[in-house]
Subunit: 365 residues, 2 copies
């Protein structure tokens, strides 16, 4: 099967390297970028029309990143009758309905496994599970940067700001780390997981998030005394009435739990489904090679499978009033309280009344 890669950055070149390893029948026919690189003269182009009008290319791999022009390039590919694979969580979570409907109208599909979980076959496994049974719950470490920070703080008794600086030096965290540490990155991945699990479209704005910006040494000291540690978890729950609870929050978990054992910048996502029970998936949530590999896996699925191209838009109704936790609340003066069972939606309201630098985490059983 012939594929084209648009945007030859980290993910695109990772996918290219996997294909060049030669274990598959995939062939990279064209690579689009702003300039043709030396050594790539035969294959690189700056003219997207060469790809759109080439009937031998059946899949376009989008790895431009960002919303624009990625959205326009993906729409053109779909409208030209080409399947699309992408790792772009921002694009997928923001334009889910438009992209899925455009794909279905053209009899093609868009796959985006690496957009949540990076190298982990998470969304593909979730899709597979949801075919056979209802998925009731998802909890996941879906951001490697924050896991790196929390892991360091837990094991080395370091300060948040010191570990964040280290993560930035290693290239794990960006200069402006807000999207990671405030949980927005995880919101995108929760939205996509909800979409795949239920067919219900959720948008990131519907998902409240408590981040880890204000976590301190003293919080870890409190947790360690209780035999606990802290992880940032994205959450999905199917409510009895068909609405969904979607939220992101620091989670206080047992030190000997599966989540606690996830070290460095790894990710782990668990699901609870009818009949299959609990499943969990672990691996690298980012990085050139793992993410590129996952993008190639989506291409191979398209080559192997008879793609399902129907799509019916259904909006998710988000209701966080039925998910209850006891919350750890530490205000800037150092005072710790643990609340009674409180719904996520009530906690979101209550948090607005607390001082800005308060750290909030939910106690998980």
């Amino acid at each position: 099967m012939n594929v084209a890669i648009i945007g030859f950055g980290v993910v695109g070149s990772g996918a290219y390297d996997t294909i060049r390893d030669g274990k598959t029948d995939l062939k990279v026919k064209k690579i689009l970028d702003l300039a043709v690189r030396p050594g790539f003269e035969g294959i690189m182009t700056t003219d997207y029309n060469e790809i759109l009008t080439d009937p031998s290319i059946s899949v376009v791999a989008e790895s431009i990143g960002g919303l624009h022009p990625a959205r326009e390039f993906v729409l053109s590919a779909l409208n030209s009758g080409k399947h699309v694979v992408t790792a772009n969580k921002l694009l997928m979570a923001t334009c889910y309905r438009e992209l899925m409907e455009t794909a279905a109208n053209n009899g093609v599909v868009i796959r985006f496994t690496p957009a949540a979980g990076g190298g982990i076959p998470w969304l593909s496994s979730l899709r597979r599970t949801a075919r056979g049974g209802t998925v009731r719950k998802i909890e996941g470490i879906l951001n490697g940067t924050t896991n790196f920070i929390l892991d360091k703080m837990a094991h080395e008794n370091s300060d948040f700001s010191q570990v964040l600086a280290e993560a930035q030096a290693l290239g794990y965290a960006e200069k402006d780390p807000s999207s990671d540490i405030d949980g927005l990155d995880v919101c995108y991945k929760v939205a996509l997981s909800c979409n795949v699990a239920t067919g219900l479209t959720a948008s990131p704005e519907q998902i409240p998030s408590f981040g880890i910006r204000h976590i301190s040494k003293s919080d870890f000291e409190w947790m360690q005394k209780e035999g606990k540690t802290c992880k940032l978890l994205g959450n999905y729950r199917l409510n009895e009435d068909g609405t969904v609870a979607l939220f992101v929050q620091p989670a206080v978990v047992d030190s000997d739990s599966l989540f606690a054992s996830v070290r460095k910048n790894f990710n782990l996502i668990s699901l609870t489904g009818d009949r299959v029970g609990d499943l969990a998936f672990y691996g690298q949530g980012a990085g050139k090679d793992p993410t590129g590999f996952a993008l190639v896996q989506d291409m191979l699925d398209l080559a192997e499978q008879t793609p399902e191209t129907s799509y019916q838009y259904q909006e998710a109704v988000v209701d966080n009033s039925k998910a209850f936790f006891r919350y750890y609340v530490r205000t800037p003066d150092g005072a710790v309280t643990v609340t009674d069972l409180t719904s996520v939606s009530d906690m979101v309201s209550y948090a607005k009344t607390l001082p800005d630098e308060t750290f909030i985490a939910a106690l998980y059983e």
Copy 2:
């Protein structure tokens, strides 16, 4: 897609229940068993020919268990041009070549995801990963009974015999627990994992195993002092020369590792692959509902995918002389020694010179 279930025991009825949940387009057209049960008159039969000669049935789900007559029933199904799905590890590991060749000769496929890992989409994920890149290493908790025993011993300071009796009372362990505690059950699953990862056929007899029959409280006390615990791991490694190392052994692992966090009778299997790096898969390794669900997932894959029906027999060359560990050796007199780095094959030879009730475990980094 119409399916037939042959053998209406634990796994067969689990699959039936998942299909009856109604989330799929699958339909159970016939169920074969020794007698027709009340309430199942329309669908159950005692005559296999009704299934074999029904052209509307495309998949036969084997859940008879054991080698005979399961083998003969599966061969008949394949020779009648029907795909087969099965959870039968004994059958698959013992008759791998014959079944795969028969399937290929008839243009159909045999899928057996629940035969290793039960409800975990392990073999399907392994197959998917191996399409795109070389799988270098597999390590897995592949037996729930022994994990239940080791978990209890680690957390409750109990005796082996006491916990084994408890596992038997709960139905987790069989009256004759040899296949679980001596590692034979894991050998089957390692053989199947090697088959799927490499295309190289290994048979369980080629796989040496140290079991947990002789583990004692004192072993856990030693490990806990070192910040370690014990898990029974199945192992596959691809050697540089294309041979494979395949072995089963108790593993001394860090108490805060992913393996250590696997509680009760759960399974967790990890792989290391080119480019994708480390992945791991967690879930229920046995049980009616999870295993039945996984069997249905294999049916759905057959319905969705264009099945690859070629098969070329290639025998694995097993060479355990290139996998090295330091070994914990505790003889019946209570004396503990830790060896220098020793190859698995050398340790197998050395073990023969030790008293029968010696407990042997490998130190994992």
